[in-house]
Symmetry: D2
Subunit: 347 residues, 4 copies
């Protein structure tokens, strides 16, 4: 069976361990190396005992030379690292999937404003492909650099997409989104202690969040009209999962829900990882836990008749590592769902 | 110290035990009796060991006669029970605070449609006072029957109220609300098992929820214009707390946030249980856990500039039993916050 | 690829959905039917949306005839059901794996006392094989009926086993065990509501638990001496996982921990699903979440020097459905870990 | 009403905010100052919004001079801080209650070994009173320095105490203890992130834990014989609560459980904060959540007949701040339960 040589930059965080969970049993992957400055020398399975028996790799210090032997490198680091490696990888014919945000925003000035640093390779941003297969599958096949989408952007974009592509809505859009705590990463911080977030719920970054420009870019590209988006994220006291509750006004308020359903059904008919639920459904996040699926349900709200779309994903899988593997499968012409066909874990 | 004689109808659910938690240490309350058909004969402290040492009462079967000796009866039963007791209580000069929904909706036909039963005493509905002190304090003082507000309606109404009273917003309103699981009650059901709701999140009743007409009634009474409300509730994997994320469009988009802040500040300046947070705040539900406080924060959303109001309460306290005690204090001319002045438990 | 025809009796509970999660992607399994009296006619994927796209089966009413076409039937019902099907299955050459307790206790009188019913086929109890592969692999290969072990018994037995087989300990044994809430099943009950067990912890059944005779039977069979076991279970506010903290006194208090480690290492050297952790480890239950692994760590307690063994499993996987699949693999001469080689989900 | 002047050293952690929750509504307390090096200048209610409306204090940098005006100072800092302040406070006639461990271990050499630092005032250790009112009430009344007990030691000692005082048990004792995550403090650390501990359970420090010598000291003082204790702590994915499962062998195995019950009942008959549960009870930790109560239940284990004692407290209340307030009440001759008579919050 064909195998590609894969490296991982970073990988001590939650997207890293999720990526490892998927890659160590992927039939087409030979994991060559994984780097971490802070954990260099430590066995991966010592940091993450869940991987005992699945890999003998140890973290190594990041050395640009060592990636040359790879066919593909995933970067699962904080923002601002992948862009420093990108030029060297591309020049050596190594493909790159960045799970952080370095290549997501086409307007480099906007990116620099939100991420608070100067971009190291603006010219590669133009060339990179935004790795949402439901939108860019064709370009992903031949891409050198994939900007793997953010978790909120994935859930929100997939929920709004058919409406915009078919010009069914008008006015402003609202995305009231909620995320499990793994979305906040594995850095030591008081704010994300168990004792700070358990048995509690809050909104955050109402005044502005980095995923706002990313979502706006996605929605604008899908729509002939300009988009006015209100985006409010919240923190749920649970591990994994994103729930996006999306609000939109129909151009034609008389348009029936089953007609809208048909539009979504057509849009996602061939998609292996988008599941349009029957009308009346309320997908819970656990229905996608650990899986690469996005489940979507459509409603008209009681009273107002406003269109409400519910979209759920696992932030670490379809919202990060799973989508990255899906992109890898597309890039290397593997069957798109190989390594990703496992039902969600419930309960 | 003046004491009133108090009875409780029901009281084996979560609003019941919360009411007991507050009443057993209330300086003006002598708890006379508590009824339960299913638990008759059982000591209250046997069902709820948290109350060991605080009450020697046992549940008794509900006997209309036995309530006559009370000054006040709380009904903490499912919907449809309090209305059967109301006439008898009122005729005997016993005041009634109903923590369920029997007296909340002034339009009896609407009530009967949503609650799926015939109302037992429509004539008393007109007379009953909706027990939201921030709106109806004067009427509460002299009321015979208090319709204690629902949890979602309390959080949502307090969040929108100053905007409507001051005619600052136009167009439709959205209430994206989230509740802890105690809001679903203590009945045996698969849907509310730990193993069904833990580590997961979902919307429910998007097509229509009983709190929608209650909230709409509140908002309409506060506003000169008619109100178009979209209301979407969600279930949070936590015990207590409601977080309402409220969206509205300003009539004057240029109106600055600190001017809106001033409107809210004036509206709630004298309120002991509404806390307007500093601009930029994101109140978490734990900041009100076990307390009778409603905390509110105001934002303009990044990008769109839409007005976003965050309103949090403890669904069992300000959203149920605490507000009922607040109403009792007002009805009997006790200091309004007596028995309710304890800080939230954090963490 | 060789496939066997598989049926499931029951399957609406948590062991059922876990079994389905594993079987729908098992390369050697063709799932023929799944029965449920209460859910007959309902699509499996409607009850468990996590399985949408993985099975088109609907629940059917249990008809003895329909199982004849199966090579193997799993019974994932409450206690007392499998024993009624067993005779018919065996007579038709259909193998049976019972995930409940009907065939676990060899002493039928003891079984009847603990399970409060008369056994329907005592003669088959003798014939049934207790499906703990680490003990009975050879017999499992040829068994007609497998008594799939309980969750506490699996974790506890594997933790004590090498000590008993090698006669290293004396005196009484203590198993202080803790389980996630899925172990309590999916029946509607107040006791297992989210609002009853979240953010709390308790012991239960200290005076006697059904798993006590099962564990005692296992330990006695492994030991030349009689065993005196104290067994105390507790409920953890989490979904999956069992943590057994086991206490024993060494016959030779001078025996060093690394010598004991070597005994365990030899005992489990060939076991695909027992992982002896390095000395000093404290395995958390999440390190086995959703996996079929049992992780064990050895300690001498500070101060007393008493031997302490920590043993963790996922109660639904190695403690139920995963072990059942492991048994199936052995019975049908598949590679023992096929369908079970996925790392634990972390976090 | 008599008020004393109180200061707090530290107070930015969980014992700090719990102490503040109790003190801001304590009728005999005037809170003068609270210090924190890191948060100096910040309003207490800004760090802990639960306290908005209850205190206007801001943290100040710790200045020895400023404590002189206090009658009592609580130290709610990490270990090793209170001992530096003790001499100065005592010389100025200011009483000190240390919620950390500086004065708990009478054998200073042992303390220095476990806490890894040199003690700043060994001579005051001898003079300090271990603040477990159930043992040392008389000495507490006149103490200058109180060593407020640890959380595990409180639950474990109260569970074993009557057995040892009455010489009912022999052989070694086992304390299998479990704690909520707030016990780990509010410091930024990966190990205590929500995403590390939620939905998981583990033992820790099996080889040795600082509370072991403290518990051993308590047990030895209560017993005529020497005590051999095995102590194993575990981490529960919940906020508050300690559950100690205690194992002991009766000298007289025939001694009936109700006789042992009577011994406990006599021992704790006058104790306001020890609740002996009826035989057969399994107290859950939520039955004491936010309260100062310790609930104890007695069992003989099924099969072995070993004595099993279940003891639960809230680690932040009876296990820390609540017990500190109880000690304050005793020291200043207030009614012992003033400020502490609130039922546990359930659920």
């Amino acid at each position: 069976m064909k195998k590609i040589k894969v490296g991982i930059i970073g990988g001590t965080g939650y997207t890293g361990v999720e990526l490892l969970r998927l890659l160590v049993v992927h039939p087409h992957v030979e994991l060559l190396l994984i780097t971490s400055r802070s954990e260099a020398g430590r066995a991966v399975a010592d940091l993450f005992p869940s991987l005992r028996g699945y890999t003998d790799l140890a973290f190594t210090a990041p050395e640009p030379e060592s990636f040359k032997q790879c066919d593909l490198v995933f970067s699962a680091t904080p923002n601002g690292i992948a862009m420093k490696h990108a030029r060297g990888l591309v020049e050596n014919g190594v493909k790159l999937i960045d799970l952080a945000a370095d290549f997501r925003i086409k307007d480099v000035a906007v990116w620099e404003q939100w991420y608070g640093m100067q971009h190291a390779c603006p010219e590669l941003v133009a060339e990179a492909v935004y790795g949402l297969p439901e939108v860019n599958r064709a370009s992903i096949k031949t891409a050198q650099i994939i900007a793997n989408p953010g978790c909120y952007p994935t859930a929100t974009t997939l929920g709004f997409l058919p409406l915009l592509q078919n010009e069914l809505v008008e006015g402003d859009l609202i995305a009231d989104t909620k995320s499990g705590v793994t979305g906040a990463g594995r850095g030591a911080s008081v704010a994300n202690l168990f004792s700070e977030v358990a048995d509690s719920f809050k909104a955050y970054a109402v005044g502005g969040h980095r995923h706002h420009p990313e979502i706006s870019q996605n929605l604008s590209e899908a729509s002939a009209s300009s988009i006015d988006l209100t985006f409010v994220p919240h923190l749920i006291p649970m591990l994994r999962g994103i729930h996006a509750t999306l609000y939109a006004d129909l151009k034609d308020p008389e348009l029936a829900l089953d007609e809208i359903y048909d539009v979504f059904a057509r849009a996602y008919a061939q998609e292996p990882f988008v599941d349009l639920m029957p009308l009346g459904s309320h997908p819970d996040t656990r229905s996608v836990k650990t899986s690469n699926m996005c489940r979507i349900a459509l409603h008209k709200a009681g009273g107002s008749g406003k269109l409400v779309i519910l979209s759920v994903i696992d932030n670490l899988t379809k919202g990060a590592a799973g989508q990255a593997v899906q992109n890898m499968n597309i890039m290397f012409a593997f069957e798109e769902s190989v390594g990703l066909r496992n039902p969600a874990v419930l309960p």
